[in-house]
Structure formats: C-alpha cells, structure tokens
Symmetry: C2
Subunit: 301 residues, 2 copies
C-alpha cells in the first residue's frame, strides 16, 4: 500500500495533459493542500483554474514556487533549461523538484548545470509512462496514471528522502514506481516510444502526398488507425524529445533501418523462409507483450 503523505504546496510548471492529470490524481487522493499552476499561456492557466485542476495560478516562476514543498516540471523538454535557471533563486530550502519528461539524460544535464549542487541533490528525475495523443489541460484526467508505470532515475547523490517523497506521491496518484539508471531509461524509451513515434510520423507524412492524388486514407481500416494514432501527438513536444534523446534515437533508427532493409531484401530475393521466420518471431514477441499487459500494472486501455 502507498504510504500516506501530505504536502502543503505543490507548484506545477506546465499544466497540460500530464501536469494537469498529476494535479487531478493528487486531489483525488487528498494528498495536497494547495496547487499553484505556472505557465506562459495565461488563458490555459485560467482554464485549469476554472476546471479545478489547480487552486491558484502564477505567471511568474518566483511567485509560483514560493514556499512550495514540491515542484513538478511538466513542460515540453525544450523549456527545461530556462525553468531550472529560473527556479535557482526562488526555491525554498527543503523544496524537492521533480519532472515528468520523456527523456532523462538531457534533463539531468540541464538540472546539474542550472540548479545549485544542494538543489540538484533534491531533484528527482521522473517519467510517467502514460499519455494519450491528446494534449492540453482539458484532456487531463485523474485516472491517467492508474496502474501505469512511473520510472524514477535518481543519481547517486540524489537524497533518498526526496526520492521516497516523489515515489509516494506517484503511488498516491495511482502509479507503480520503478527505478532505473538514466542511461537505461533513455535506451528503453528510445526503443519502445521514441522510435515508434518517428515511424508513425514518417509513414503518415509519406502517405499524405499519395493521398492528395488518390484519397487513400478513405480506404484505410482499423489497423492503420491504431498504427498511426501516435502521429497525432504534439509536434513541438516530439520535436523536443527527438533532439533531447538524439543519440539513443539515432542508434535505434539505424537498427530499425537495418532490420527493414533485411526484410525488403528478403522480399525482393523471394526468400520466403526468411520472411515467414521474421513474421513469426515478431508475432510471438507481440503476443508475449500482450500477456505482460494483461497481467502487469498497465491497463489494456
């Protein structure tokens, strides 16, 4: 069972799908007294306030994080360096900072560069492996993290108490928390998330040109819809992820291109045995993944 923890003030930097859902999940758990939202778009913050996602709003970072026990950063990755730099002079002495970014190496670098050494020891890098192709606070919901995994990637110098606090908050938000190294996180996510997004974007862009002549999308069915759903994701957010995890992503792109090249060559060479073997290995692995999902912490929907 998650421990009971209660914090007085949470500051959420970036109240979109992830930040907003984190707020809603913690309110559902009665885990926080006051949530202050910060963002550059005051209309969106106003909306978050009206929806009851946050209790107050601030358009200056200093005001937002004043007296905060915890600061959650949930903006696109491109904004992180400025945010860390902006936080440096305004965090309370014991404030724990965490984030929800999809890449951890570049985030840790930005935190190390821009926070004080003291603050950096209380920075807990995190990544909720959850989301939809939607974005914005209107899409936020309290159940987003239920039975989903949150990966924390603390460093050797990260304070154990800070890690424990963030772990408990995520548990109260419904998630199962696991820890791994920054490098392992970035390699795994490049494979299972960042690469598939690149493939979906590339495929849809490739077909969009054909569609102009032939209206091909009219004849696409459910398989295509599922396969390309992630190509509706937020372009700026994925641009940021792409460059924040560039080296790991390029490694995976190379591996995938090699694999696709092998398949293409087998088809061209009429090597039917190689093709059916690849399809069979893939089906077995995908069926294994389905079983994992059916029994694991991640819900089917």
């Amino acid at each position: 069972m998650p421990k009971t923890i209660h914090i007085n003030k949470l500051a959420v930097i970036g109240v979109g799908l992830i930040g907003g859902s984190f707020c809603r999940a913690l309110k559902r758990a009665n885990a926080v007294t006051h949530i202050c939202g910060y963002g550059r778009n005051s209309d969106a913050l106003q909306k978050a306030l009206e929806l009851g996602v946050i209790d107050s709003m601030a358009t200056d970072l200093a005001g937002a994080v004043q007296d905060a026990d915890v600061v959650m950063i949930a903006t696109p990755l491109g904004a992180y360096a400025d945010i860390f730099a902006g936080l440096r002079d305004h965090l309370s002495a014991d404030c724990v900072v965490t984030d929800a970014g999809s890449v951890k190496g570049s985030v840790v670098d930005a935190a190390r560069t821009n926070l004080t050494a003291e603050q950096f020891r209380r920075f807990v890098p995190g990544h909720p492996v959850a989301g939809t192709e939607q974005s914005g606070v209107e899409a936020a919901f309290a159940e987003l993290f239920d039975r989903h995994r949150v990966i924390l990637t603390p460093l050797e110098q990260t304070e154990a108490q800070a890690v424990q606090m963030i772990e408990q908050l995520w548990q109260l938000a419904g998630a199962e928390v696991v820890q791994m190294s920054v490098a392992e996180h970035d390699a795994i996510l490049a494979a299972t998330s960042h690469l598939p997004h690149m493939l979906a974007y590339a495929l849809v862009d490739c077909l969009a040109g054909m569609d102009e002549q032939k209206a091909i999308f009219r004849f696409a069915a459910g398989g295509f819809a599922d396969f390309t759903r992630i190509a509706s994701s937020h372009p700026q957010m994925w641009h940021d992820i792409c460059f924040a995890n560039r080296e790991e992503l390029l490694t995976m792109l190379d591996q995938f291109q090699q694999q696709l090249d092998n398949l293409t060559k087998a088809i061209r060479a009429d090597d039917r045995q190689a093709v059916i073997e690849m399809f069979t290995r893939a089906k077995n692995a995908r069926d294994h993944f389905s079983k994992l999902r059916a029994t694991g912490p991640i819900p089917k929907e």
Copy 2:
C-alpha cells in the same frame, strides 16, 4: 437501402475470421438458405459447424461447391491457384465466384489461368477492408463488416449481373461497397495496410532481441501497444500477401525508407525546422484521417 436477394447455397472455401464472419453476417440478414464450408482442417470445420457458422461441411472441393449459387474464397492467398484449379470442373453453370483476398492482381491472374473463360467472367474479385489481428472461426462475428468498406475490382469482361449479386450480398452483410481497378486497389492497400504491417513486424522483431537483455516490453505503454497490434497478425497470411503484392509493396517500402532516411538525416544534422515541419504535416494528415473516420462508413472501433 440494400436490395433483397436470397441465395440457396453458398460455399465458403476457408472458414476463418473473414469467411466465418461473412457466413454469420449473411445468416443475420437471412440472405442464404444453406452454407457449406470447405477447408483442409476438418477440426476447424467441425468447430464452425458446432458454432452454427456453417450448415454443412465438406473436405472435398467438388462436394462443397455442388449446386452452389455463390462460392466465396477466403483462404490465405497462397492457396488460391490450387482452389481455382480444383473448382474448374465442379462449378454449376451459373455459379458466381468471389473472394476476400487482400491483394487483387495476383488473384485475378490465378483465376484467369485456372478457370474457364466463361467462369472467369463470373468471377468477382473482392476485398473487405476489415479484420482484426485475430484469426480462426472462433474469432468470427456477424458485425465485422458493419459500416466497413468492401472493394470490388471487376474487370471489363466481368458480368454486370455477377458484380451486382456480390455487391448486394456484401450490403446485406452490413458493408459499403465501392469499385476500383485492380491496380488502384493494390497500390492503395500496399500503402495503407501492407506497408504498416511490414513496419510493425520489423519493429517488434528488432526490439525482441533487445528485450532479451533488458525486458524493454515491460516499460512500453499504450502507444506501443496500438502501434504494434498488427504484428500479432497471422504470419502465413501476411507472408502470402507480401509476395502476392510484391511489386507494389517494394515500391512503398522504398518510398518509406527514403522518408525515414530524410528524417534520420534531419535529426543527425540538427535540422530542427525540417523535423518539426514533418511532424506537423503528419499530425495534420492524421487528424484529417480521424475526421474521415468519424464521419465515414468505418466505425471508430
């Protein structure tokens, strides 16, 4: 509204997901008096009989199609040539033959080669753009084709009456029928169905090797699940599709590889403008497709 049509005997060659669902949909519409199922696996046919999907079973082709008004071929594509050859001496004079294969060029070639010229004029090539990653008669259901498109690709010499009959049957089965040329069908399906299946198989096989070391599938979320669902499809069926539509598929594979190569180069060269432009074009096209689906004949699920 679909015309009312009633046929006395339908023979279904291959009673799997598609063949079985066609039977169930026509029974739901009271469109047929008797359905005889044929297949090489008598256990599966027995199952189809027990489930009430078919009314009788036959393990010899001649018996199955005796006195049949319509023959529906719904096996993997690799079996078609033998089936057409086997039908040649056993079809009733007015029997209309149709099929549900995902590729039309190779099917039309096999029909032309193996049927008499007379029989070939009553062969109506068809493709229901529907399916799930499941296979087998147990997965068949009457609603599979509801509000889905069925593409017929009749040739110049195909009898108009035969085309009309198959069109009406599919309408009674719940589908919307459209017609296009064989070449257009095979190009469109290579783009929206066959290529995505290749990418899903290649991705999952690529990651399966990594997974052995790192258990990466444990940290994959909903986006990955949707993206790779089609990699659970029947390997033999997709092997057959792959080689039956080889030239169109190779063309699409080349186009896609070029596109992915452009994206990879842009990431490597730090060309952020090119990356965000591609993602934005893709998102716009995918959102457009979502709207088509919401208003078109294809259901959301």
